[in-house]
Symmetry: none
Subunit: 204 residues, 4 copies
DNA sequence: CGTTAAACGAGACGGTACGTCGAGTCTTTCG
DNA sequence: CGAAAGACTCGACGTACCGTCTCGTTTAACG
């Protein structure tokens, strides 16, 4: 799940015609376009296949379901868009990362991600995959930002890093998915200044 | 939307057989049971009708769609489960309200709510309805808790109440819907002690 | 099979919306048109449904399969086109009936019937249905023609009526389905004069 | 069509690996087995290829279609099973040939042949091929039987030989394909004695 | 004897139709 | 008239074959 299933990891000689790897991208691209146009719910496999000029079997050969296709398409994009900042200060790093993340979530991927979240309770495998890619990647960046701040002596002793990481993600996701309020720079600044820095930084 | 549509506000003398109001609850109950068993996605109108021994038309006469039925079922329950605490202290009120809210979300309603969240980006009316009931109700309670604390002199001057309300909800929802970590008492305590009280309470 | 399956013979009071009988004919008509245009093999249920502006489920509710639909359509027509002649003489009756039957088979129904014949070996139920309607109807007419001739004293004693009936049908079907030679009047005359009358008529 | 298409009659020098002629028989054998098991309709090229452990391309290199493969398989068998009798008498020759033909048709080839007949109306090329092999071969044998009887003076003057040939084939095929009654010896005897001999033999 | 071109098994590819299922609507009968 | 039952249209589902197209490998005949 979550990535195209190639038929067996270490296939001995490779029998038959090999999968055309360029179809993977064409199909992901088609999925992204359709999803941007009509949303996750109204996305149909027929539409994706038609847009990519592919047969439906070609999709089902690589992904088990619509969900599997969509989450793979999203995580693929997420990994390319979560650059790790290094401005030299905790406040700078947080601001830069969170605003980049907010911008990323405000685009079409944000809507797709939200749709996926709706499926998590009924699809444990999807939930695992989602957490192992989408969430972990973002949390690890935050964790490393805090580690570097600690090395520079910017953190309080016993600063609750886990809580800081959690609150940072929660604040953004909550706005995105629940309240619908804008994920803009002023909001990011307020989260950093009012909540995160007081929580972990020395001398606040 | 969101509540049963009774056929015209000021129906003149009221001709024919009146709607059987007890069917509303029977249908909501059936919807809840089916959703608890198979989840939102796999819930079908036929299944709900069959379980309530009702015709599908009877459902559509009251709710416009599957989503409408589900959100009404959920908000109905939410309103009955969000009691407003008054322990006499800010910490006590927060702890009590958030732990009650966490317990509520940990049940079947939590899963249903999460499913609804997945639909919000593509259904503006649903989003409005969801925010006007689910969210507002919960935020208003928090806001009043803060107001009472202020009257007792427990709040700092210029305490960022809006941010506190937002972070409180975000922390719970994020765990529930994204990370899947447990919404237990220790977590609630940590949110209150490490994040909320430092954010707004006097003398921290 | 072979006729629209109405849901249970002696249904107690008849609950729910009844089948719309006019859809039967609309669907049969659509099937006939499509079959005339593209043949049996290329006839698809989608095409029939689209032409009748019906859902596929509506077809499958009445007939179990494409074959079932087609044979019902054909036998329906067969029963309306096998008029029984009564000219007063054996030769006249035979000539009239066989030429009418030949004309009937030369039309689109002939091709459809031939397609059905190809399915008989693998579908025992279909074979039974086909024989009980298509064949029996035609053979009964021939048998009655011979009976009336016997009453008029036109038949030889011990005339092999069964063989006569069989040869009459065989001669036409063989031309239609195997050789493809025309089923015209001269051929019918030769079958009657050279084969059938010598076989059964007195004084030949 | 109808026989394996070897790639061009006068191929200049013959380059590359030559066709493996043993695959022809293996594929025909596989086709026959599959057809015997599931019938013509349900026979798929994939199944034939799998049973013969061949690639589909190997089949399509030799036959243009499923139909082409099947008709070739059948005519191949037909040509080996239509021995020409010479008993010295018309009645004997007819009896021997028709009973051999009946036995042949009663086996699995009979079912396959019937399936092919169902395709004739929509496939003119197939019809031509079928008639030029299956039909002509059988009719020629009958014609030669009548010729030899004529040379022996057994035939009436002006005996309708064409009609006799047609009726002989028709009687058998009609039973086989339409009525499903058994093609046994008594039936053959009755056809010969009651219909064919009276039609053409001297002094009946 | 090495080159080379076609045949071979395998299986992916774009298509088309399948038969089923769910949605939302419509049409009966019964109370 | 309301409500239960269930037929209706529509459209997507995931599967199965079709006939074609690569692949990597094998096998003769040519040079």
């Amino acid at each position: 799940m979550a990535t195209p299933v190639y038929s067996g990891a270490a296939r001995t000689p490779q029998r038959g015609r090999p999968r055309d790897a360029s179809r993977d991208d064409a199909l992901r691209q088609a999925a992204l376009e359709v999803m941007a146009e009509v949303g996750y719910r109204a996305l149909t496999m027929d539409a994706v296949a038609a847009r990519a000029r592919a047969g439906k079997a070609t999709i089902y050969r690589r992904w088990e379901s619509k969900l599997d296709l969509v989450i793979d398409t999203c995580t693929q994009l997420a990994q390319r868009n979560l650059a790790e900042p290094d401005t030299g200060s905790l406040a700078g790093d947080l601001r830069e990362f969170l605003s980049a993340f907010a911008a990323f979530l405000s685009g079409p991927i944000g809507k797709a991600a939200q749709a996926l979240v709706g499926e998590l309770p009924h699809e444990p495998e999807l939930a695992t995959a989602f957490r192992d890619t989408f969430l972990i990647a973002q949390r690890d960046v935050l964790r490393r930002i805090l580690d570097r701040a600690d090395e520079r002596g910017e953190l309080r002793a016993n600063a609750p890093r886990g809580m800081a990481v959690e609150i940072a993600g929660a604040a953004l996701i909550y706005r995105l998915m629940l309240t619908g309020d804008p994920l803009d720079l002023p909001f990011v600044d307020r989260v950093v200044d009012q909540v995160l820095l007081p929580l972990v930084a020395e001398g606040q």
